[in-house]
Symmetry: C2
Subunit: 459 residues, 2 copies
């Protein structure tokens, strides 16, 4: 009996079974497959489906199950899948999402689909989504939630508790640790921890139990300001108000954490040359190719620029062909040293311990480190050159070049993100290419110029 | 009057004023400086202090203020600063930290200091820290909290509320949205949302109001399992139990988010060659130099290995010196293409849409992309070569080499993280160096071999 169960479970979890159920338009079979699978399994298998199958699957499920599935998909898949589902089904699914995810999704859809879905939503939900989706990407409004408890300051504790009781189902997914109190114009006048509610006399007016004039954030505040506010006050959440001090949302610490994770992921992606958004290998080949190529094309131009420095010194190179072996080493090692400095500056900017105006301090710290590491690497490569060719001049040219260029690389690597940040450019994206171009040019120039100075001793 | 206030405030926030207050051992002045400064200001200025001044500052503050300051410092600073404070003061500060940060900090201190501080802590706190600090880095136990409400299943709702009332101060920082119910052996038997408490009859036994047999995590579960569990059930938090099903802690979604941010930061750091932990420029020069150099030394050996491929073909290079201009370009561009593939695989691994066993699929996807991008880049560089030298053979050799090597680079870049993950190595750390070494060797080999085949047409 147990064996049979094991087998049937294993069969049901066969990824092909999911594809078959989708092909057969068998919603019940899809739902049962998803019910039996672990979340990790679902994420992996649904990602392997063809785009059309993912959309079809969403359409076959109950809206609530579809919303849960959407939540498990990488964002890029979710957006694409919902765009291909029948509009009225899409609207039903969107209604099941939490308010912040709803707005995120609508913001990411193409304008036409977004408008069509908005028109199909229940009027009050549609209005809420429009309101949230209108906030700019980098604002408090873009990460706040609409799911919070709000009460009029004219109520008593008894009336408040009665409201919670009669709306128990609606509030089931709300964080109710804190409730908010507004006046009759909707302006925020207090925060009421649920703890206080429990311990208060039932007849007491809410106004007497609440914490008056709570700290609130403006809906148009930047994410950086939101982060500062959370650092300043270690609260679990903050109320968000508009310019008229009307309560418009709530931001929890976990919303900020999510924004931080996205930023860290993007920093990594961009530093590795993945630009234009997340790439998944299930995306169309030409989209993936085009995006990667855009960055590579800019890079190859910079590379040719750097290599032109070699072209200018061909005669030196021709006389001492051994130098050609060391050019790529000097280029690569300087790039590595410089990238370490870039990473440290990027981290210090994120942590807030370094600011764009701290260039002088960064420079001093990097020069001293560059001198040590440059000397060590220079001696190493110089030693290898001597062992290979037995020429002290060659060894000296190569060693000194790498040493000098290491100092240059760490200084540039340390400073470039600060400068980019100062001029409001994206340091994660541009620091690498700028760094390697400059250090390559300097490296090639130094080694070939030094070599030309002692050319007779090299040959 | 207002003007005067403005000036005095500005004066007080002068960073030099903080240093002066520390030098004068003036705790009150330090505290007033910190009170007036924004959190961002504090983070930045305190990071600029000398190590000794940071420790001195901690010692001058009230333990609660010192704990808050410790919380604002980058972890590396916090650890160092607390190690240099008088042990009994350090213990007082540690007592003011939340339970998870306490354990994190103690785990990070050198063993001797940790032991000394533990001995000075209040016995029950000391025991709690020892218990938490004993968990391995990658376990549920290492990120769980001890601050939660727990009640015996024999209580009534009235008794439970009375406990909350009489411990209101102690519970002030607790998340009380959920409380936990245990039997007389401390075994978890239920979860009790505070909402249910509010709405329950005061005389009802807790046992009747709670949700029985809640989902719990094992304290020894891995962080990956914790993440899966949160994906599986979108709860705000989970109770954590030991092997005897005794309740030992609580994990909230925000604890997992914090672990995710740390992981993303480490991925970025390691991909850029910052190994051995966070580097801040305020750390000792030789420590920073040594850590960076460790990674660079391994890299230079790999670089020399790759460049030896050029040394083997010096005769070809001597005949066609123009090739020397293209070697660094081919090396760098292949590295860029390969790193893009590394980044995509790393992201797909994190998202869970690709697993170590999906190598075949990754390979197919990367080969097709590599053919397109390789052709585009090959034509580009071949065109540049033709414009420069007017030799179609040179142009062909360079173009075909970059095209071929791009295909190789994206395949290796896509696969290396999967292989490293499969063999339990750290993909973020090793993928880059392995990739560039192999692609450099292949690139140099291809271009010089092709050139030697058509040597007569090149010269």
């Amino acid at each position: 009996m147990n064996d049979t169960e094991g087998t049937s479970e294993k069969l049901a979890l066969d990824p092909v079974a999911l594809e078959r159920a989708i092909a057969a338009n068998d919603g019940a079979a899809c739902e049962s497959w998803l019910d039996q699978a672990q979340a990790d399994e679902i994420i992996h298998e649904v990602a392997q489906l063809a785009d059309a199958d993912r959309s079809a699957l969403l359409g076959l499920l109950e809206p609530e199950a579809a919303a849960h599935l959407l939540d498990l998909m990488p964002e890029a898949h979710a957006i694409h899948a919902i765009e291909d589902v029948n509009i009225s089904v899409a609207a039903q699914i969107v209604e099941e999402l939490p308010s912040d995810e709803r707005a995120d999704l609508i913001r990411s859809l193409d304008a036409e689909t977004a408008e069509a879905i908005l028109a199909e939503l229940e009027p009050d939900i549609g209005e809420d989504v429009r309101r949230l989706a209108a906030y700019g990407d980098d604002t408090a409004g873009s990460i706040m939630l609409s799911e919070y408890l709000v009460f009029a300051d004219s109520l008593t504790v008894r009336e408040l508790l009665a409201d919670i009781e009669s709306n128990a189902e609606k509030y089931a997914d709300y964080n109710i640790q804190y409730t908010y109190v507004v006046d009759n114009e909707g302006r925020l006048v207090g925060v009421l921890p649920l703890r206080n509610v429990i311990l208060a006399r039932r007849a007491a007016p809410v106004r007497d139990v609440m914490i008056a004039d709570p700290i609130a954030m403006l809906d148009t505040a930047s994410l950086d300001d939101v982060r500062s506010e959370f650092r300043e006050h270690p609260f679990l959440g903050f109320p968000v108000v508009d310019a008229e001090h009307r309560l418009v949302g709530v931001i929890e610490a976990s919303d900020v954490a999510r924004a931080d994770i996205e930023e860290a992921d993007e920093r990594y992606r961009q530093s590795q040359g993945i630009v234009g958004g997340e790439e998944l290998r299930s995306m169309p080949l030409f989209l993936r190719s085009r995006r990667r190529l855009a960055w590579l094309s800019a890079n190859i131009v910079l590379n040719i620029l750097a290599a032109s420095m070699i072209a200018l010194h061909q005669d030196t190179l021709e006389a001492v062909i051994a130098l050609a072996v060391f050019l790529p080493i000097i280029s690569d090692m300087s790039g590595c040293s410089g990238n370490q400095a870039v990473a440290v500056t990027m981290r210090e900017l994120t942590l807030g311990v370094t600011r764009p105006n701290d260039a002088a301090r960064v420079l001093i710290k990097e020069i001293s480190l560059g001198l040590i590491n440059g000397s060590a690497l220079g001696i190493l490569i110089g030693g290898v050159a001597y062992l290979w060719k037995g020429n002290l001049f060659l060894s000296g040219v190569v060693g000194v070049s790498l040493a000098l260029n290491t100092v240059i690389a760490v200084c540039i690597g340390g400073l470039v993100p600060l400068l980019l940040k100062k001029f409001k450019a994206d340091p994660a994206l541009a620091s690498g290419p700028i760094l390697t171009t400059i250090t390559d040019m300097c490296g090639f120039f130094i080694v070939l110029t030094l070599a030309s100075l002692v050319l007779t001793s090299l040959t």
